[in-house]
Amino acid sequence: MSATRSVVVGLVAAAVLALGACTRDGIPPAPPATSASPASAPATERIVGPLTPADAQALATMNDRLKEYVDLHVKLERSLPNLPKEATPEQIDKNQRAFEKLVREARTTAKPGDIFTPEARPVIKRLLATIFGGPDGQQLKASIMDENPVDPVALRLTVNGRYPDTVPLTTVPPQVLQTLPKLTEDLEYRFIGDWLILLDTHAHVIADFIDNALPK
């Protein structure tokens, strides 16, 4: 009986803590970074420390969604003629725009959160908060914001929309890429303003995004 009560109390306490964390300025507190993780541990674990089972589950679900997206991407890309490795600008442009159209048509109902799920979003924000809260955080942020004085709201970014041709690609520092969940070559993390963009690099399409992803 007392054991059951302890479990219930523990769960409630955890839930309260989690709720508090999620509502404070929208950014949950970062878990303590650790240097204790062995070199063989996944990069995320090495840099931010072990993830809680709930966080790990959230990222696993996001990973499943990523795999689904990549499967779709590969299927659609295979339906197009192969782009030669020595292509003309006309071939490149035609192929890219055809692919963009296919992706958009195949995901007409796509919306924010389909890949960066509601459960994964706070975890990703927390990972970013850990990186940018560290001693090099200001410099890292500066390198992302270099040539990125863009207001994502004004650009009216949408899931399934084209990555704006006029916006240069932000540099994503190696430390960020080592921490965020790994992507296949078809997808990249980029930032527009302080939004984290999941970019389909072949289709030039925004697959998903997290607004206000960078800590202030």
């Binding site: 990069a43 782009l83 390198s143 041709d165 006029t166 240069p168």
Partner: protein, 307 residues
Amino acid sequence: MRTRHLSLIVLLFLFIVTGVGYRGSGNTAGTARLEAQQSPAAPVVPLPNRDGSFKFGVLGDFGTGSQAQYQLAEQMVKLHGRFKYDTVVLSGDNLIGSERPQDFKVKFELPYKALLDAGVKFYASLGNHDAREQRFYKLFNMGGHLYYTFNPRPDVCFFMLETTYPTPEQFDWLEKELKASSSNWKIVVFHHPLYSSGDRHGSDLRLREVLEPFFVKYNVSVVLNGHDHFYERVKPQKGITYFVVGSGGMLRVGNIDRGTGITAKGFDTDQAFMAAEIIGDEMYFNAISRVGQTVDSGVLTRRKITP
């Protein structure tokens, strides 16, 4: 007295570390040695233009389609008339702004038409303004890869990196390639400079943390970058000579911060490209402006680390 001794030691140390003003074929293993012009008034170190040597050009941040880009391209063509380089490496921002088929023509194919017609091959790395599809563009010779190597000669290897999205996989690949390369000259090309006096961008310290140890360990002699829109030759850092050649079309006048202390030679008042020639263990270089003036020149010796 003690202060004077200390000053002399410091001066001697600086002289050895920077290597500036030293020339010859001695055995300063692991340090690229350099003789270069430090002031515009000093005589130019000419490119020897020797038969059989490897000659190449360096260009960055050029793809604007502007008159300035075309005028600089004319200087490249003019130089090619008397100095037959067959390779140009591009340090990124190859097409700035839109990238429709007509942009490839206006911002690349037309300004460099005479060079392309003469068989000069351009090898691109990508900058933050470049779409990833450029890797398929025939005239950029990237073979569909975001990062790759090529050997124009057995003793020269270029490592072309992609630094807007520096994945761990790319670093693993780079270390493997550097380690496996038996070329005497290892030259790395990418967009974001590890060392730059740019007031606008400056040195990418995060990238430096990761890349510099590879360069030092695996005998890289020269690194070619862009991103900051000027020409700068940086004083040798850990034995490696870094060039920022981000003035192929874009230009940020007066952007070199003279207070960084790392500039060996800076030029931020006009567009410029670089031409170089490798003869044995030496690399001669000239930076040439839009009006054909040689604004920097010198010769450096490759690093020779004994494992």
